[in-house]
């Protein structure tokens, strides 16, 4: 890659936005290590991106500290979905362990601000309307719990969130499970779930066409009371 081509194609920005193929990246790196102008564009762009990240992280943390978000312990309207079985201490412990597990599993960006996790649980799909989940748009993440009651214990499950058009927006493995009834707890990015109706499909990893359980829910934004 020569300098003119790099300039003309906005190579430094493409590079920083990770838009290059491995080959293009290697070509541009071979160029910018020898080109003082492109090196400067890359360096300044990188400094800007790091500073923006740090600044926004700090703002998010400050906002969360100033206005602590506390989920109500009282049952909400759709709390009736909760089955007595999920209240047993062992399952509550399992659910908490899974929340911790997921924070690592999902490789989410840093979660530094302590936050109370919702204790509300969404039950599998029924004929009734989907429960409404109100999330605080000021917080970068929110948690959702789903009660899973599989016909038999699978070693793991494939969990797929879909929007109302049926487009998959997030797919992940549940990790090792040893029981057939438990609470699936997710820590999700607020930005990935704009207000709307969603479906979570839990499938057997050995046979992905087999839906073990399905859940509908509606995301709505509003300050948590």
């Amino acid at each position: 890659m020569d300098h003119q081509l790099a300039e003309r194609t906005g190579a430094a920005d493409r590079y920083l936005l990770n838009e290059f193929s491995a080959e293009e990246r290697a070509e541009f790196e071979a160029h910018y290590f020898d080109c003082v102008v492109c090196a400067s564009n890359v360096r300044e762009g990188s400094i800007f991106i790091d500073s923006v990240k740090a600044l926004m992280e700090r703002e998010t943390e400050d906002a969360a500290r100033d206005e602590p978000h506390v989920e109500p312990r009282r049952p909400a309207a759709w709390f009736a979905w909760l089955r007595p079985a999920t209240l047993t201490p062992s399952l509550v412990a399992l659910s908490l362990a899974m929340i911790v597990g997921y924070q690592n599993l999902l490789t989410l960006p840093s979660l530094r601000t302590p936050q109370l996790l919702s204790t509300s649980v969404i039950a599998p799909l029924t004929r009734e309307a989907a429960p409404i989940v109100t999330i605080d748009p000021r917080l970068p993440r929110f948690n959702l719990n789903f009660m899973l009651d599989a016909p038999r214990a699978n070693s793991s499950y494939v969990c797929q969130f879909m929007d109302e058009r049926g487009a998959a927006i997030l797919t992940m493995e549940s990790g090792l499970r040893e029981v057939s009834s438990f609470t699936l707890s997710f820590l999700l990015l607020t930005s990935q779930f704009p207000p709307g109706r969603y479906t979570l499909s839990v499938r057997d990893p050995a046979n992905r066409s087999l839906v073990v359980q399905q859940y509908n829910f509606v995301i709505r934004v509003g300050a948590a009371k």
Binding site: E29, V42, G45, L108
Partner: protein, 221 residues
């Protein structure tokens, strides 16, 4: 070797000076990699070493962070690259074209990366540190510079339209899938890049004008 932080007031334009000229003018911000520079570097000239480490330190950091998530691995491989480059410099005529020193550093780093990936350590390390993508190891000097940069970024951000600020958050902080984001915002990838470029360009201009101001102040004082 201690890596110094890069000066943020690095001049983007103007004629390049060779090492002797820069030394005379008391600045190492613009330079040419020439035989003299290589000899001083190989001979352990502290000033040239500091310049070399600052300049290539940041470029290597950007390159390595594009491939690795663990700050510790990035730091280790960067250090390994420096060690190998210095080792090569001490061999007579190891670098035939001093003006291509950057290309040489890049190719050494490529080798170091390849060896690392072949060693099979990759997955272990990446899992260990996957939640901490930003390198936060700073010297006091670089913390001051970081604070200065933060102030500049704050100013640039405050001058951006709200939609652009939101876009930067989605792209860089939340690390959203860009295709999905474009679809939501009803824009194409080119326009997303234009908006990011616009923000970076404002920052470039502001650090350049800040660099000019501080040099003018230094000259006056």
């Amino acid at each position: 070797m201690l890596l110094a932080a890069n000066p943020i007031g690095c001049e983007a334009g103007g004629p390049a000076l060779n090492y002797a000229e820069r030394r005379q003018r008391g600045t190492l911000e613009r330079y040419v990699f020439d035989r003299q520079y290589l000899e001083r570097l190989a001979g352990g000239d502290a000033e040239v070493e500091r310049h070399f480490a600052a300049y290539f330190g940041e470029l290597l950091l950007v390159k390595l962070r594009g491939r690795l998530r663990s700050p510790q691995v990035v730091a280790d491989l960067r250090q390994e690259t420096f060690v190998r480059v210095f080792h090569a410099l001490r061999k007579k005529d190891a670098i035939q074209h001093p003006e291509r020193l950057g290309g040489f550093v890049n190719s050494v780093c490529e080798h170091v990366l390849l060896e690392y990936f072949r060693s099979g350590k990759r997955t272990v390390q990446m899992q260990e540190d996957a939640t901490e993508p930003i390198d936060r190891s700073h010297s006091v000097e670089s913390e001051l510079i970081t604070e200065e940069r933060t102030q500049l970024v704050k100013r640039v951000m405050s001058e951006l339209p709200e939609a652009d600020r939101k876009l930067l958050r989605e792209v860089f902080l939340e690390e959203r899938n860009k295709d999905q984001l474009c679809e939501e915002l009803k824009i194409d990838r080119n326009y997303l890049r234009v908006r990011v470029h616009r923000a970076i360009e404002r920052f470039r201009l502001s650090i350049q004008s800040k660099g000019k101001l501080s040099r003018a102040a230094k000259a006056a004082g």
